[in-house]
């Protein structure tokens, strides 16, 4: 296998009147790792979807090893040796590693001789720098192992140009380094060329050879990584003006501050009936942000659902402001417990109802929203919604529009408006800015900090360690349904946190997930 080089000339793509990509020319040299940086909506996905043939480009030319090719479907791309690893795993969890590899290969005979196929796969695995057990079911693999399976799949298909879409978004820092290191080694051995979409500067600086930055569908910069630094990349990515955010000053948490949320030995079962949250205890003081770090799937979802009344808990005790709490609607209203769950359209809104109706879900039956008797006062609901829309910059500012038609950032703003319309004593937030654009992120993070200043106890569960280190006062690490580590955010060390996230610090495993590392020989 030899690596492919790829160039585009004047690549462009429109969706109706919207120019998603305009005149982008990039050069990816063979045997290099090339990072593609940009905010959400900068056109990164549009570009790579054009290269892989998912949604072909309108304009421009694609050259592979200097020869022009038309790519109009993923089949074309596959035939040319271009493969892509998607942000979300595209492996079937109910099937084994061997079955996944075989299905990826295609051209299967009608009857499969497993003896023969296993021998072929074993031989293939022996040539790889890392291995997975062929017979294990994918659902039992860790996120890092699944990502490795994705890579194995691409190598098994003999793809020589690989597009990685945020390959580390679900991995621990250690797993990320291992996977990216493998990718870089393969590239430098001239077996692969890699185009990697990312938003993490650290990954660009440590693992990429060159970097291209897109903003609003246009190319703003291209350079060798050794000639640049994170500040320059940030300027390219976001433009000069938006970088200068005011430094965040915050008052320290008062030692005497009352405890807003207290969880004692909480146990919650997962969908599969296993223990997802295992005797977990934590405390959040009023005016404090406690961040919970961890790889998704370690019980965070179940913890949040139990706190929000979406899931029963098996045992343990939750109290809010010293009062026992079982997450009923009445308790939430009385104790002023509010929430910003992840996927707000799924967990906090009804997509088909209007913005105004969604904003009134907490209090549509309170006296001020009611006409005498049991009828709802739609005018009052509408007026209140208009005020909230203005105060929280929800756009477009139409209270009667179904909330499902708003962009992700504006849905989350609308939810935030509902949840922080009045003073909250406890705010429970789970990945509140996941997938949102830059301005919505800074907006929502500022609101959370403002709530803290006013004395709200904030429990912030996030998969983004940078977000936690920036916002939280205390960072807890959750692994296997327990809090395994607690540290003051200002003195926190990323590597230590990462080790606890991977579960290595408490129960060291011999090698990461049974992986065997080979030397280049």
């Amino acid at each position: 296998m030899t690596a492919l080089s790829l160039e585009t000339f004047g690549a462009g793509k429109s969706f109706g009147d919207f120019r998603a990509l305009e005149d982008v020319s990039i050069q990816v040299a063979a045997g290099t790792v090339h990072a593609l940086l940009g905010e959400n909506g900068a056109g990164k996905s549009t570009l790579v979807k054009g290269l892989i043939g998912y949604s072909p480009l309108d304009q421009g030319r694609i050259l592979l090893d200097g020869i022009e090719h038309a790519i109009s479907s993923p089949r074309d791309a596959h035939a040319l040796g271009i493969g892509m690893v998607y942000q979300h795993f595209t492996v079937a969890p109910g099937l084994t590693v061997a079955e996944n590899l075989l299905l990826a290969r295609g051209h299967l005979p009608w009857g499969i001789s497993w003896v023969k196929e296993r021998a072929t796969l074993d031989a293939f695995m022996n040539t790889m720098p890392f291995r997975l057990a062929l017979g294990s079911t994918v659902s039992g693999l860790s996120a890092g192992e699944k990502q490795k399976l994705e890579l194995l799949k691409q190598l098994y298909l003999e793809h020589r140009f690989l597009i990685l879409d945020e390959p580390t978004s679900v991995l621990t820092p250690q797993e990320s380094e291992e996977v990216l290191g493998l990718v870089r080694d393969l590239a430098h051995r001239s077996e692969l060329t890699v185009l990697m979409i990312t938003h993490k500067f650290k990954e660009v600086m440590s693992f990429a050879d060159e970097v291209t930055v897109l903003r609003k569908g246009k190319l703003v910069g291209h350079t060798k990584v050794e000639h640049t630094n994170p500040d320059e990349l940030a300027k390219w990515m976001m433009g000069e003006t938006r970088i200068a955010a005011a430094p965040k000053t915050r008052s320290p948490v008062k030692d005497k501050a009352p405890i807003g949320l207290e969880i004692l030995r909480l146990c919650v079962a997962s969908d599969r009936g296993t223990t997802a949250v295992n005797e977990l205890s934590l405390k959040v003081r009023r005016g404090e942000i406690v961040g919970v770090a961890g790889i998704s799937g370690n019980g965070q979802k179940e913890l949040i659902e139990a706190l929000l009344g979406q899931r029963r808990f098996l045992s343990g005790k939750i109290s809010v402001n010293g009062v026992p709490y079982r997450a009923t609607r009445n308790e939430m209203l009385q104790q002023k417990v509010f929430s910003l769950p992840e996927e707000p359209l799924h967990n906090a809104c009804i997509a088909g109802m209007s913005v105004a109706e969604n904003m009134a879900l907490r209090n549509f039956d309170s006296p001020e929203m009611r006409r005498p008797g049991w009828r709802i006062n739609r005018t009052a609901i509408r007026i209140r919604a208009q005020k909230l829309i203005a105060a929280f910059n929800v756009s477009p500012a139409f209270p009667d529009r179904p909330i499902g038609t708003l962009s992700g950032g504006n849905v989350q703003r609308a939810v935030l408006a509902r949840e922080l319309a009045e003073f909250a004593t406890v705010l429970i937030a789970a990945n509140p800015v996941f997938g949102l654009d830059f301005s919505a992120v800074s907006d929502i993070q500022a609101r959370i900090l403002a709530a803290r200043e006013q004395g709200t106890a904030v429990l912030l569960v996030s998969e983004d360690l940078d977000e936690l280190l920036e916002l939280a006062d205390t960072v807890l690490v959750m692994t296997n349904g327990r809090i395994v580590y607690a540290v003051d955010a200002r003195s926190a060390d990323r590597t230590t946190i990462g080790r606890y996230m991977g579960g290595h610090a408490s129960s060291p495993r011999a090698s990461l997930g049974g992986m065997v590392q080979h030397d280049d020989a």
Binding site: P74, R75, H78, Y86, H88, F89, T90, V91, A92, P93, G94, L95, E99, N100, L102, L103, A104, G106, L108, P109, W110, G111, I112, S113, W114, A269, S270, D271, R272, G273, R311, R312
Partner: protein
């Protein structure tokens, strides 16, 4: 004292024999319907219409057998009717916004109604029925001989269960079927087309369910009437869950349901008549118990195909 003990010991042996015979005799349609449902669900769809397909197959099988004089052509005819209805379910559910469960219920009512409408002329005449192997001829015990009279279709079903079990793991067709049912996104990314796989699986599932129906009208009870089915098509859904979507286990689950169905008649034949209707309800109670134990809102079932709307 002695007078009471001896008959009860005798009763137990007869009961076991009667349950064994019933497990096979009543379990065979369960076996075919559940294999059909298993196949459909492995592709990620639920077909509740199998009940209607079963009744339709019973009628078609009986009618074709009567017309041609061959019960085996009757079984084939039933299968084809099921294939058509199954493909209908598969195609309609491939349209945007069609819910497979809702359409399955519609198909259940449609299939049953169609069978009743077209089947009126076949209620009286006697069609040729399916043969059985008399494996108990060596015995002088009439009960044992009766119990060992194994119908051919049951043996076909056993072979089929084994075949499906092997096919799911070791054929291209089986792997693609499981991929499509497990993770549609992956299947799409790998370039496999979902709809043809699902339609084929649903159609094949319909074929099997209709063969199960033909068994009802052509072997046991062995005539066509409107009260022929007792919900086997619906109970098959519970049965497949119980079998954790494994064809081989469907066989044992079908035998269990068959034995439960035989409990009432078996007790009656031994002279226990009180609570006859209660014992007849055993398969339904079994269904309920299985559903209560396995389907709870806050947990998913292990082994379930990932794309199944039933368990998500």
């Amino acid at each position: 004292m002695l007078n009471e003990v001896v008959p009860s010991a005798f009763d137990f042996g007869s009961l076991a024999l009667a349950l064994f015979a019933g497990a096979i005799r009543i379990g065979t349609p369960f076996l075919f319907v559940s294999l059909g449902e298993c196949l459909t669900e492995k592709a990620g769809r639920v077909n509740l219409g199998l009940e209607g397909i079963l009744v339709c197959g019973a009628m078609t099988g009986y009618a074709v057998s009567l017309q041609t004089g061959s019960p085996w052509i009757g079984v084939l005819g039933a299968g084809i009717s099921g294939l058509v209805l199954g493909a209908f379910h598969g195609l309609v559910c491939s349209l945007r916004g069609v819910n497979d469960i809702a359409f399955g219920i519609a198909l259940m009512v449609f299939g049953t109604g169609l069978a009743f409408y077209l089947g009126t002329p076949y209620i009286q005449p006697q069609a040729p029925t399916l043969p059985a192997f008399a494996l108990g001829d060596w015995s002088t015990n009439s009960q044992l001989r009766n119990a060992l009279e194994i119908n051919v279709l049951f043996l076909v079903g056993v072979v089929l269960a084994g075949l499906l079990h092997w096919g799911m793991a070791s054929t291209r067709w089986g792997l693609v079927l499981r991929l499509v049912g497990d993770h549609a996104e992956t299947a799409r990314a790998l370039g496999y087309r979902l709809i043809p796989v699902r339609v084929t699986a649903t159609a094949a599932g319909g074929f099997l369910a209709a063969v199960g129906g033909a068994y009802l009208s052509l072997y046991y009870p062995g005539s066509w009437n409107e009260g022929l089915s007792s919900g086997q098509g619906l109970m098959a859904v519970a049965l497949v869950i119980f079998a954790r979507w494994r064809p081989w286990r469907c066989l044992f689950a079908a035998l269990l349901f068959g034995a439960a169905g035989a409990l009432g008649p078996a007790l009656q034949s031994l002279g226990i008549t009180s609570g006859y209707y209660l014992f007849n309800a055993a398969p339904y109670v079994l269904t309920l118990v299985i559903m209560v134990i396995t389907c709870r809102p806050d947990r998913t079932i292990s082994g379930a195909p990932g794309e199944l709307s039933l368990t998500r």
